[in-house]
């Protein structure tokens, strides 16, 4: 446990000092909110209510980007000399990866708060009491932990940090083909099948329901099941991948 905390502190220090990535993580929420609300919002919903629809989508988009950076950071550790030193000190792989995931969660909290702040400034009117806010934060946190762990696992597989970076792009693409930005029923039939059944849609709907006080239904459980599934898969896969290095 101490090991994981020491490595979390390290990852946080490194993220804070990676100025370019840090700037992007902080600018992205602001720019995306403005982009969707002010540029697309008028066309999508001329009445001006799009900001309310789009908040969960932007939250997930930013979380996807910020978590995706974990793949790059893990890959850098694995391909540089760092991992050999840690392993020769008998540091467990799980400690290193949980350090990266914990740092990712902290980065995401900052960007999540920023998204909500910008949204409120642009006219976002949530209908949520403290309990719903907490539940929404819980769903978002589950998504961040799951996607950061998946990202860390990708970082173990990727041959170079550049390749790991490609994963960030893939994660960021998923919300577009979900109910995050437009309702699924407006999409062509062949896409609806995918969009309706990929994890981003129930997660988006759960967040939306909780924040707007509308019906959440089974979305929250489906969302949590997806996150738990992704997390378990990542933990198992990263354990196997890590052990394979010792051959």
């Amino acid at each position: 446990m101490t090991e994981a905390l020491i490595l979390t502190a390290r990852c946080l220090r490194l993220s804070r000092r990676q100025v370019d990535a840090l700037m992007t993580s902080l600018l992205l929420p602001v720019l995306l909110m403005i982009l969707f609300v002010e540029l697309f919002g008028g066309a999508i919903e001329p009445g001006g209510g799009y900001v309310t629809y789009v908040v969960p989508g932007v939250l997930l988009l930013c979380a996807g980007f910020s978590s995706g950076l974990t793949a790059v950071a893990v890959c850098q550790d694995m391909t540089g000399g760092c991992i050999d030193r840690l392993r020769s000190m008998d540091v467990r792989g799980a400690s290193l990866l949980s350090g990266h995931v914990a740092a990712s969660v902290a980065r995401n909290l900052a960007s999540g708060v920023l998204v909500v702040a910008v949204a409120l400034a642009l006219g976002f009117h949530p209908h949520a009491a403290a309990v719903e806010w907490l539940e929404a934060a819980g769903v978002l946190l589950a998504f961040i932990v799951a996607i950061s762990s998946l990202s860390a696992t990708i970082g173990l597989v990727a041959r170079s940090p550049e390749a790991a970076n490609g994963f960030t792009f893939l994660i960021m693409f998923l919300p577009y083909a979900s109910s995050a930005f437009v309702p699924v029923h407006t999409m062509p039939g062949w896409l609806q099948g995918f969009a309706g059944h990929q994890p981003i849609t129930p997660i988006t709907e759960a967040l939306r329901g909780l924040l707007l006080g509308t019906r959440v239904g089974s979305n929250a459980w489906v969302a949590m099941a997806w996150c738990a599934g992704i997390l378990v898969l990542s933990i198992v896969a990263s354990g196997v991948l890590f052990a394979r290095r010792a051959e």
Binding site: T2, E3, I6, L7, A9, R10, R13, L14, R17, Q18, G80, G81, C82, D84, R85, L86, R87, S88, M89, D90, V91, R245, A246, E247
Partner: protein, 323 residues
């Protein structure tokens, strides 16, 4: 792949014979390519061993097996008295590894890097801070300790890397090509540091491509070539294994060179057609020189010049690792 290390033997007490590193029959192959084909070696406690060999000889693979980072396909090894396969945790507590690529975080300061290693090695905050300070001073990094490592020179990074390896006072220190890529001044500084460690009784297992480095630092040299140990001994012993003296002949013409090389046969170690020189081995006896000169140059016109020099480790190395 056959894995023949029996992990049943998990003796917890270190063997008392005083070996810091002991390996027998180590084999490793990657994708059908045999990288190590049966390495045997022994390094007494408190000594410095240099694993010397050209690129691709298997030096790094050997270090990685001995430092528990990878498993051998066959053979067994004990480091600091513990089995590298069956007692990894015990081995890891007693060793440190400085790899070929400085394993330091460029975005952390030198001091932060050292503190982090201290904490991971189980020191508390205050102890880790004190240890970091001591090591920065000892490695001449005190002024740079508060700066990010990304701003360090290559030599400073290597020194920091070595300092990080010493946070835990390891019983056995592995240094994989500690001076590759360093300028001459930084290399000298590294040599001084390793010499000091050896003087303090740390067992040092290092790999190098530089004969001078092995000669200078190591008590014992193991020459590795294509996955096999081709020679082993002190620098002096290795030099003695090939004739101690070298006769350097400068010939008058390319034709004379060809004739002389033909006449010398096996005794010619190096033939340089551009410089018109031949290096031959001999035992240092004046009669032998005279006989050799008469033999290849009976009418005293082919040889312009000759010089005698002592064999260097380079001569040994070339002779041992040649086809």
């Amino acid at each position: 792949m056959t894995y023949t290390i029996d992990s049943d033997r998990t003796a917890v007490t270190p063997s008392s014979d005083g070996a810091a590193v002991e390996a027998s029959g180590l084999e490793k192959s990657y994708g059908g390519a045999q990288v190590l084909s049966g390495i045997d070696l022994r390094m007494p406690r408190g000594s410095v061993l240099a694993l010397l060999g050209p690129n691709g000889a298997g030096k790094t693979t050997t270090v990685r097996i001995l430092s528990t980072l990878i498993r051998a396909d066959a053979g067994r090894a004990r480091v600091a008295g513990f089995d590298v396969a069956g007692e990894r945790a015990q081995v890891r507590r007693r060793i440190s590894v400085t790899g070929q690529y400085a394993a330091v975080d460029g975005l952390q300061t030198g001091e932060e890097n050292l503190r982090m290693v201290g904490r991971l090695r189980g020191l508390d905050r205050a102890q880790a801070g004190r240890r970091a300070g001591e090591l920065l001073e000892r490695f001449d990094l005190l002024a740079a300790g508060g700066r990010r490592v990304g701003t360090y020179s290559g030599g400073m990074r290597r020194r920091l890397d070595l300092a990080m390896s010493l946070v835990s006072d390891p019983a056995v220190l592995f240094l994989d090509e500690p001076t590759t890529g360093l300028d001459p001044r930084s290399r000298q500084a590294m040599w001084v540091l390793v010499g000091e460690l050896a003087a303090r009784g740390v067992s040092v297992f290092l790999t190098t491509q530089y004969l001078e480095e092995a000669d200078r630092l190591a008590d014992e040299i193991v020459v590795l070539d294509r996955g096999r140990v081709v020679a082993q001994g002190t620098a002096a012993e290795l030099k003695r294994r090939v004739a101690e003296q070298r006769l350097v002949l400068t010939l008058a013409s390319p034709e004379a060179l060809a004739d002389a090389a033909w006449a010398l046969g096996d005794r010619a170690i190096e033939v340089d057609r551009d410089e018109l020189t031949i290096v031959a081995a001999f035992d240092g006896n004046a009669r032998e020189v005279r006989a050799m000169l008469d033999e290849i140059d009976p009418d005293r016109s082919a040889i312009d010049d000759f010089a005698v020099r002592n064999a260097t480790l380079d001569d040994v190395f070339l002779e041992l690792t040649d086809d």
